[in-house]
Symmetry: C2
Subunit: 324 residues, 2 copies
């Protein structure tokens, strides 16, 4: 049988309302919904080919053959695709990122969004956006948010069928910019999959989850009304809440570095002084400074002057995962 190939591009995303902790770790059903925006400047491009001659699934990232846990995770994911389709051969997966992986820019989100789309297409399926989002979730929870375009809300749902993301505003609806300050390029000591599983050991996780619907509504309305201050307030609070849960887990997980805190506190001061900007961090030390595109050019040189800041990645808002 002929080689069947497909290629897709997907963007990482940065969450305003965070995902932390599952009600089902295997299916990656989250305890609370979450909201993010896709990062258009950053992407992962993935080619999947199902081939007769392969004796196992293979994975290359940025040109390098990968084994170990990352390969196992991809194999498990390809197994789900095979079980959904008539394709039962092994596949080669080649992924190229244009951004550093494992440092708090959600590389696995872009990776599994692209893999879900390319893999399902190569396997002969034509998934709807909802179906593709649901599938991507099985590889990495936040990947489901990278499937729809622009501002994306992951509806927590109750089961595999109902847990998926939808776009709540297109990428051109509101022109925000993410200035990502790279605090560390080191790989995380504790990956987020392991961290999620321990979320329940924090005495604060229950309150965080219980109060998430209010923050989701606040965030959704802030985006729909392009109300920057409202988005800033709720995002800042939700970020602190997630990191407070992480820091009170057993064992404690401190993703904040001193420089992260320095930047967060500086940004809070600037916002008090009337500059529209706020900081948010995913499961890593890098700080994402969100601001309207109109102020981003003036903000960037000010950020570069903070002692210790070396690299800033600038991103606009991205579209959906697409076949290429």
């Amino acid at each position: 049988m002929a080689v069947r190939t497909a290629a897709a591009i997907a963007h990482p995303n940065i969450a305003f309302i965070k995902y932390w902790g599952n009600k089902d770790d295997l299916l990656r059903l989250p305890l609370n919904g979450s909201i993010s925006m896709n990062l258009g400047t950053l992407h992962t491009r993935t080619i999947v080919s199902f081939r007769d001659e392969l004796r196992c699934d293979t994975l290359k990232i940025n040109g390098k053959e990968i084994s170990g846990e990352a390969l196992i995770r991809v194999r498990n994911f390809l197994q789900i695709i095979r079980s959904m389709s008539t394709e039962n051969r092994f596949a080669s997966v080649e992924s190229i990122n244009n951004f550093p992986i494992g440092a708090g820019i959600a590389s696995s989100a872009a990776a599994f969004a692209a893999l879900a789309l390319a893999g399902s297409t190569a396997a002969g399926m034509e998934l709807s956006e909802a179906e593709c989002s649901r599938l991507a979730r099985r590889g990495s929870g936040s990947a489901c948010r990278s499937v729809p375009a622009g501002y994306s809300e992951w509806l927590a749902g109750e089961d595999d069928l109902s847990s998926l993301s939808v776009s709540i505003a297109a990428q051109d609806y509101w022109d925000l910019i993410d200035l990502i300050i790279i605090v560390s390029e080191n790989h995380k000591k504790v990956g987020s999959t392991a961290g999620h599983a321990l979320a329940a050991t924090s005495p604060f996780q229950h309150s965080r989850v219980l109060s998430a619907p209010e923050r989701l509504q606040e965030c959704r309305e802030a985006i729909q009304n392009r109300d920057f201050n409202r988005l800033a307030d709720v995002s800042e609070k939700d970020c602190t809440m997630m990191h407070a849960v992480m820091m009170t887990q057993k064992p404690p997980l401190f993703y904040w570095e001193p420089l992260s805190l320095e930047i967060m506190k500086t940004i809070m001061e600037w916002r008090k002084d009337g500059i529209p900007c706020f900081a948010t961090l995913d499961a890593g030390p890098n700080v994402h400074i969100i601001c309207p595109a109109s102020v981003s050019m003036a903000l960037q040189p000010r950020l570069e002057k903070i002692a210790g800041v070396k690299e800033i990645i600038r991103s606009n808002i991205g579209g959906s995962a697409v076949l290429v």
Copy 2:
């Protein structure tokens, strides 16, 4: 009538299980109990004199005449003493600290413990330790913990009568040292009295208060059994929990400075490597490193090597508030 004078010395304290938030702000009845140790090397020495010729209460701290809010707080406190006693004259209060005030070393705790003892004695009363602790609480909540000796537990209680501190172990029961790293000598932007009143605006305060009895028991037992690792685990967790509440209050209260976080993370690493030490912070940026006296001499030079650390104050454990 003759001048009536008394002088007392009291120590500040550092809390292992923290006090944050009241069920009665006026009476300073706390939402949860707390446990601390007195810092013997640091003290406040206070002289109170009730005199015929005074036309109002006066206050001197470290030789400087004080007015404004600090004076009002002391006057309100002297008013309580007058209402309890037959003394109805105004008083002069002179306080001398041998440590910097307003930077996270609980200066108000030592101040009101000394004032409660000196003031009540000058007014002709002979209060029991329990009565004096209860009185000190009215001036500053944590001051009630500085009245009894050594390791002190504040029993939250239900009303003015039942809310006071008792010693759970004498100062020579367990030879711990506090190495206080002065991160900032600046006065706090938000004082803790104002911060306490906003504790309820954090979505985490309720869980913190609800789970405090477990941590109190854990801490009490750790002290009674001289179990350093147990004390370290529960104190570190309780400290993070209090600061998580502060950071998620409205408005957020970030007492941690980048250097505070740097030290906290370094200490966590050292402890993983087997060095018995842990870090805790009250409502300020200074980091208190607690360790057995036997390792404190080796630890201090290592702490001094952390970039940015300028001043370290070393304290042993202190006794009760005493008349001098």
